[in-house]
């Protein structure tokens, strides 16, 4: 969806303006009380209502996992597919029906473990869809095994002596796959989440959003050290395009590059504002965005917001163009030409 599309879209489709309630399905939501997914669901419903894109144009495609229950609670079209394969179904859907706003809902297990390969290729291809990866650093639905993003040494049902897997970072994978829009947000800041969802909807190309989500039952307060109320001022940076990376309760801390290493500086220390690292989303070279993903607790504050936003032709538009070009060059195919068009001979 391009930036122009969310206004004046199909005025006949919905006579009434859409509200959050328009997007609520009739299914009772059954996540655990206190689950972060509730906030994500509500934010999605509110954002979609804001855009006033007709409900029928949205499709939510999910895999398997707690977060993958999402489509059932949205009153749009939805497809609850199989573990890890949502990006593939979403790709096929978008390629035949590019008018749809296609969302992929996945989690740290569904998307980065079994689905890792498909996620990488979907982002590599720059299919115009929005991927919401709900990361709670645990396997919730199957009741508490560790995930590829769980910290090493974590004690869980399947790792009573602690995990021996090194975790990796969802956004690193996204940037390595050259996703054209990469962002991180969190379930406890619905305002920020909503803003990120809006940016994703407006972005033409694949949008990858990692959402820090709290699994209250199996991994409660996993992100607490970073996003907990007492810590977040000093441990979270909200990225703003064109501005320095300011944080701290008094917004007096910033980031400066020391060679290839980002380091924290106090605004009082620096002599010249030019020393500060300025956030720029629109860079074809992904190195800077990758640097941001390497900033994690406890060594560095963690960035939230849009890490990277560039544009390049999308897979589905290039596919459509090839078909159009072929028709322009060779004319619409007819069955006559198809069947009778080769070397033939007659009998009798």
């Amino acid at each position: 969806m391009s930036e122009h599309d969310h206004e004046n879209v199909n005025p006949d489709a919905n006579k009434a303006v859409l509200t959050k309630e328009s997007f609520e399905s009739d299914q009772a939501v059954r996540w655990c009380p206190g689950c972060g997914d509730y906030a994500i669901l509500a934010t999605a419903q509110r954002t979609l209502a804001k855009f006033n894109v007709p409900r029928e144009k949205h499709v939510f495609v999910s895999g398997i996992g707690c977060s993958s229950r999402f489509p059932y609670y949205m009153n749009t079209y939805g497809f609850h597919t199989i573990h890890g394969r949502a990006p593939t179904v979403a790709t096929g859907l978008k390629c035949v029906n590019p008018e749809l706003a296609v969302w992929v809902i996945t989690g740290d297990g569904d998307g980065l473990s079994i689905g890792g390969n498909h996620l990488i290729h979907c982002m590599r291809r720059n299919v115009d869809l929005n991927i919401l990866l709900v990361n709670n650093r645990i396997y919730g639905l199957t009741k508490g095994q560790y995930s590829p993003t769980s910290e090493i040494g974590k004690i869980t049902k399947s790792s009573p002596s602690g995990t021996i897997d090194y975790p990796f970072n969802a956004l690193c994978i996204a940037i390595a796959s050259e996703a054209t829009f990469v962002a991180r947000t969190l379930d406890t800041d619905p305002r920020h989440m909503g803003m990120i969802f809006e940016r994703a909807m407006a972005h033409k190309g694949v949008s990858f959003i990692e959402i820090y989500q709290n699994c209250i039952i199996f991994n409660d307060k996993a992100f607490g050290p970073v996003i907990g109320r007492e810590n977040r001022d000093d441990r979270m940076i909200y990225l703003e395009d064109g501005k320095p990376l300011l944080f701290g309760s008094d917004r007096k801390k910033a980031i400066r590059m020391n060679g290839l290493r980002p380091e924290v500086v106090s605004l009082d220390e620096i002599k010249n504002e030019n020393e500060l690292l300025i956030h720029r989303e629109n860079q074809m070279n992904p190195t800077y965005a990758y640097l941001l993903t390497q900033m994690h607790y406890p060594e560095m504050p963690e960035p939230f917001g849009v890490f990277r936003a560039i544009e390049k032709p999308t897979y589905n538009e290039m596919m459509d163009k090839q078909v159009e070009d072929a028709i322009a060059q060779k004319g619409e195919g007819t069955l006559e030409k198809l069947i009778y068009g080769a070397d033939t001979w007659k009998v009798g």
Binding site: R55, T88, T91, L93, V96, N97, D325, G348
Partner: protein
């Protein structure tokens, strides 16, 4: 040079000094050489000429074992076999009557395939020590008694070609390349073929390089003349025209026919054909073919793996177009979970499986029929699926159309079960009258005053409505979890679960109302009925024809639809004492028939050697049982 030689040939054909003509019913020729020798081209040209002259034929290419191999080595041998006949035939021949071996390696690889007493033509020029060593000949087969059981023509083809083209302004390598036309010319004389088709073809294809066109023509004529003159070839062989049904024909390979069939079906349905696939032998050529027909609204998607391929196809079907995926045995294993999703979501989907030697990686370039049980049962839970199987290369077209027709009418995945042999084999295809092609009408629901029920079923077909995302008022969610009747909401209710499972099974069974009844070839009751499926059609057909000549008459039905079976199969089986089920596996259809029709006396005939049944062995087995 052209005109003179052409006149000479005309004189010969008009009754100058001519060798005797013998009439035969059919001939099998195998052209074999190094991969650079152009034997596929020679075989193709011979085939095209034979087609124009009105014989029925079947061909089979034998590609080199390696992608590229040094010249003259055994893995570099490439061959092409054609059987042509005055009658209807369906197999490329068991053993060859004539072998054209362009080098020692080609002779080594293909000698075992020539019938005793057959004619072997070798390119004597290249039977030197080095080449013999490369081909692992311990001694020169042209000098010792290796070839004592065959008629041998030792023709120095390379030398003869060089001589014929000595006045042509070409480089040595270009002249070398013309020797395959020399060999072709010899074959044209030997089988009394008209050269006009090939002459026109050469002039057209090499229009930009007239010196090569002339050289090829000269080589062709020289070969023809040489065969006429040489004493070893004592007679010409004549194969009369076959009684083919009147119509327009083209030569087609199985995979090609399938691709055309799928495109046709999508166009009849006025839909985009979305093909998600991952390259795998022997299915890759379907992707290559479809990728060139974009102007027919065909979108091909080369996925990162087999699962992504079927996932994308499912997404396309969900999106309201024709989703299709294609693979071979190992790929079908990988796709099984996603296939089940399509079965639960009750979406139309076509899944192509071009079977090859298995299990696991097996023999990728060899043929087999051992995926039937996997196709019917290889998924978790009760998971019924429709299965169709073509029986000849040209039959791939109609069965492809059928697969799509059934998929969209019954909102179900359909497996198109082909095999390596059909995929690569070629034969004449009588082109269908476009007006008679089946109609594929699809109706998508629109919003009404009533609440939309995604799993309400058509009373006749039990298919659910195909609601396209983007249609206002029909918003709903589907998925792989067990779902309630009518609404499709997630439901773990016990009785509902059983009901839905039985509905899905019944839906597949009802396809039987929509497919043709089986036709029996031969008497309607008797001692023996041969029940075949897939590519065994050719060998069974020809074995029966052979046995008819010995006054042994049996009956034959061939299953194009493997699930559900045609409605009259059970009745037919009861009319025979013994049922013979020949298949290229260890008894899969046999197992299914015994299970579905207890009480029949069924016997299997199994071969899993990567090769199709030979007509001889099929006839022998049938004889054994009557």
């Amino acid at each position: 040079m052209n005109a003179t030689m052409a006149n000479e040939i005309k004189e010969n054909q008009q009754g100058g000094v001519k060798k005797p003509q013998k009439t035969v019913a059919n001939i099998t020729i195998r052209f074999a050489g190094d991969s650079g020798d152009g034997m596929q081209l020679t075989g193709d040209q011979f085939t095209d000429t034979t087609a124009v002259m009105g014989n029925d034929f079947a061909t089979f290419p034998d590609y080199p074992a390696e992608i590229r191999a040094p010249a003259g080595t055994l893995p570099g041998v490439s061959s092409f076999q054609i059987q042509f006949s005055n009658d209807i035939i369906f197999t490329p021949g068991d053993q060859s009557d004539v072998l054209v071996a362009m080098n020692p390696a080609a002779l080594k690889v293909n000698l075992g395939n020539v019938r005793k007493g057959g004619l072997i033509i070798v390119n004597e020029s290249v039977f030197n020590e080095m080449n013999l060593r490369k081909a692992a000949w311990k001694s020169d087969p042209l000098q010792d008694d290796t070839l004592k059981d065959y008629q041998v023509l030792k023709a120095p083809l390379s030398q003869l070609t060089k001589n014929a083209l000595k006045d042509h302004p070409l480089k040595m390598t270009e002249i070398e390349r013309c020797k395959n036309f020399f060999a072709l010319g010899m074959m044209f004389w030997l089988f009394d073929r008209e050269m006009e088709h090939t002459l026109n073809w050469i002039k057209k294809k090499f229009a930009k390089k007239p010196e090569i066109a002339n050289a090829n023509i000269a080589a062709l004529m020289a070969g023809y003349n040489y065969a006429d003159i040489t004493e070893v070839l004592a007679a010409q062989y004549h194969v009369a025209k076959a009684h083919l049904e009147p119509g327009t024909y083209r030569k087609i390979m199985g995979n090609e026919a399938a691709a055309l069939g799928f495109i046709t079906a999508a166009r009849l349905a006025k839909k985009t054909l979305f093909y998600g696939t991952y390259p795998i032998t022997p299915a890759s050529t379907i992707l290559h073919d479809l990728a060139r027909f974009k102007n027919y609204h065909v979108k091909t998607f080369q996925a990162e793996d087999e699962i992504a391929a079927i996932g994308a196809a499912i997404g396309a079907s969900f999106g309201g177009e024709i989703g299709m995926t294609g693979t071979s045995g190992p790929g079908l294993c990988l796709k099984s979970e996603a296939l089940n999703l399509a079965i639960m979501a009750e979406l139309p989907l076509v899944v192509i499986n071009v079977q090859r030697g298995g299990p696991s990686t097996g023999m990728p370039t060899k043929t087999e029929q051992a995926d039937l049980l996997q196709t019917l049962f290889g998924r978790n839970g009760e998971s019924p699926i429709a299965v169709v199987a073509p029986k000849t290369p040209s039959d791939c077209f109609m069965m492809a159309v059928e697969a799509v027709r059934i998929a969209v009418k019954y909102m179900t995945p359909v497996v198109f079960l082909s095999e390596g042999n059909l995929a690569n084999g070629a034969e004449p295809w009588k082109l269908p009258d476009i007006a008679t092609l089946p109609k594929i009408e699809i109706r998508h629901p629109v919003a009404t005053a009533e609440k939309f029920l995604p799993y309400a079923r058509d009373p006749k077909t039990l298919a659910r409505p195909w609601a396209i995302p983007g249609t206002p008022g029909l918003e709903h969610r589907i998925g792989g979890l067990a779902k309630a009747d009518l609404t499709g909401n997630v439901s773990y209710d016990g009785p509902n679960n059983q009901k839905m499972m039985e509905l899905r099974a019944e839906k597949i069974q009802r396809i039987a109302d929509d497919i043709p009844l089986l036709e029996i070839r031969g008497p309607e009751k008797g001692k023996l009925l041969v029940v075949g499926w897939g590519g065994t059609f050719g060998p069974i057909y020809q074995a029966m024809e052979e046995l008819k000549r010995e006054n042994i008459v049996v009956s034959h039905v061939h299953l194009n639809y493997l699930n559900p079976f045609p409605k009259n199969l059970g009745e037919i089986l009861k009319q025979f004492e013994t049922i013979l089920v020949p298949e290229l596996n260890l008894g899969q259809l046999l197992m299914v028939l015994r299970h579905k029709f207890p009480g029949i006396h069924a016997v299997g005939f199994h071969k899993v050697q990567g090769l199709p049944f030979q007509v001889d062995e099929m006839a022998a087995k049938i004889k054994e049982l009557v």
